[in-house]
């Protein structure tokens, strides 16, 4: 493993502290290794974009450091900018240029001239599949194509570090799928075929499950979680929960029976409905932290001989964790994590 990005207590004030200034990013620290796809999560206004702008050298940090491939952005901005491919939010591109002219410009700025430039452009164009629109002004392109032009620009020089601010925001499901496939590919290929570091910000949680190998969640400018998507999900009160739809014999107190199982924290009532076989009861049985309750639940149902219409084990709900962690009163990492899913 090789650390390609390292943030050390990166902080950004807009305006001056103590004089109505806004603390947008508050001591953010994390590392991204080669081959990782880091999902940078957070509610709108949490400081995701500001952090990325500091890492890419667009905004100077108020304090702290951002190191990319060992270079401090504040000290060697040009070296850092050479190693980074960056897709800013909304994929801005010069509206009156054609993608061809635009990519040419980017290649020249990056020192890719002549044959090398032509090859780089051809490769990026093929990867992002924009052959058909190369001669059309960018302003006439659809959102999906505009985004792909932005991506082509970002991967033009085979960067070791790829940073994307909301790469799939506003795209339709097919386009999202394509962009995600592209992101996965790019994370594995890398300049020497040994992977690069990818950071993408998003507030779309399905994206995390789809592409990320690690999650950093920030809220109000602070890191509140830094873990794998699986660990992230396990913070959910629904982690290992079992959702059931049962038709018990009349008069049986199903919830009480379920609550008596060791390791069950609670049972959530999801309502009832009448079926030809009787009254169907739906509920989610929540597990205590770190307990797997599915076997016991299944055992109980079998021994009682209840009719089961549905039984599903939950992995956890991302949006649930997201809400828990980002709306906690104390945004310190330790306190924000729900201690033992209630």
């Amino acid at each position: 493993m090789q650390t390609l990005i390292e943030l050390r207590a990166l902080t950004k004030w807009f305006g001056t502290p103590h004089a109505g200034g806004i603390l947008a990013v508050d001591g953010v620290s994390f590392k991204v290794e080669r081959g990782e796809v880091l999902g940078f999560l957070g509610p709108n206004g949490a400081g995701k974009s500001t952090t990325m702008k500091m890492v890419t050298g667009f905004l100077p940090p108020s304090s702290g450091q951002a190191l990319v491939c060992g270079n401090d952005v504040a000290v060697n901005p040009l070296d850092v900018k050479r190693t980074i491919g960056y897709l800013p939010e909304g994929a801005p591109a010069y509206a009156d240029m054609t993608p061809e002219a635009f990519l040419n410009f980017c290649a020249q700025v990056r020192g890719l001239t002549g044959e090398a430039g032509r090859k780089a452009i051809a490769r990026a164009v093929e990867r992002t599949n924009i052959q058909g629109v190369l001669r059309q002004p960018v302003e006439t392109l659809s959102k999906g194509f505009k985004r792909r032009v932005g991506l082509a620009q970002a991967i033009l020089h085979e960067p070791r570090v790829l940073i994307m601010d909301e790469p799939t925001d506003g795209l339709d499901p097919n386009q999202k799928h394509e962009v995600r496939a592209l992101i996965r590919d790019m994370a594995h290929e890398g300049a020497a075929g040994c992977g690069r570091a990818v950071v993408l910000s998003t507030h779309i949680l399905e994206e995390v499950e789809a592409v990320c190998t690690r999650v950093v969640l920030i809220a109000r400018g602070r890191v509140v979680a830094d873990c794998t998507p699986a660990e992230f999900m396990s913070k959910s009160r629904y982690h290992n929960a079992v959702t059931l739809a049962l038709v018990p014999p009349p008069g049986v107190m199903v919830f009480d029976e379920l609550r008596r199982i060791a390791g069950v924290a609670d049972v959530e009532d999801l309502g009832t409905s009448s079926t030809p076989d009787g009254t169907q009861v739906r509920c989610t049985v929540l597990a205590s932290r770190g307990k797997a309750i599915a076997p016991e639940v299944s055992h109980l149902i079998k021994s009682k001989g209840w009719q089961v219409d549905l039984m599903r084990v939950e992995a956890g709900r991302l949006d649930d964790v997201f809400r828990d962690l980002t709306t906690a009163n104390q945004p310190q990492p330790t306190k924000a994590a729900p201690a033992g899913a209630a």
Partner: protein, 243 residues
Amino acid sequence: MHGFIPILKRELAGYFVTPVAYVFIVIFLVLTGVFTFQLGGFFERNQSDLRPFFDFHPWLYLFLIPAISMRLWAEERKSGTIELLMTLPVSRAGAVAGKFAAAWLFAGVALALTFPVWITVNYLGEPDNGAIFTGYIGSFLMAGGFLAVGACVSAATKSQVIAFIIAVVLCFGFLLAGFTPVTDFLSGWAPPALVDTIAGFSFLTRFDSIAKGVIDLRDLIFFASLIALCLFINAAVLEARKA
């Protein structure tokens, strides 16, 4: 100056892929024609020189140059491309100088296309071509001065309209700085050194002497240092107001 050449090329091409360049050049040429031959009384004067042509340049530039400079940075801010540009491996100096140089070259192209006036005056008489040449040099330098002031203003705002208006006002100030009513007004209360300093910033006075064929090193240094100063401020404004 990383990125100077690609940015210069991109900007220059940018003028010609949109109607901006053609509209600007046509309007500039039509207006110089109207001013020279109608208002300036080119024929009536019966003198083979280009004074009526050059005399109107400051006033034409006053409105036309801010029209070029207003979009330099304001457009980048508005469309968000400034984030793209400043995260590419370009230095701020390269970006500022590249954009300015492209705009100045473009103004130079428009100015060069007035050559039929020069042909006309040579056809009709025997003008002092040396004076005409220095007139062109002076006009080009003055355009650069206006552009640098405008670029500076453009870097501070997202709105091209604001960039235009403020640039016009500032340029108007530079034009009139040496004008008698202004110096009279100032000399009533300001110390003479200040009045002289302000009068020294006058584009009109300096352009006038160059257009007459007098190339004074001080005038050249004035325009060169004004441009350098404005570009320096431009870069500083850019750094301070990125978001």
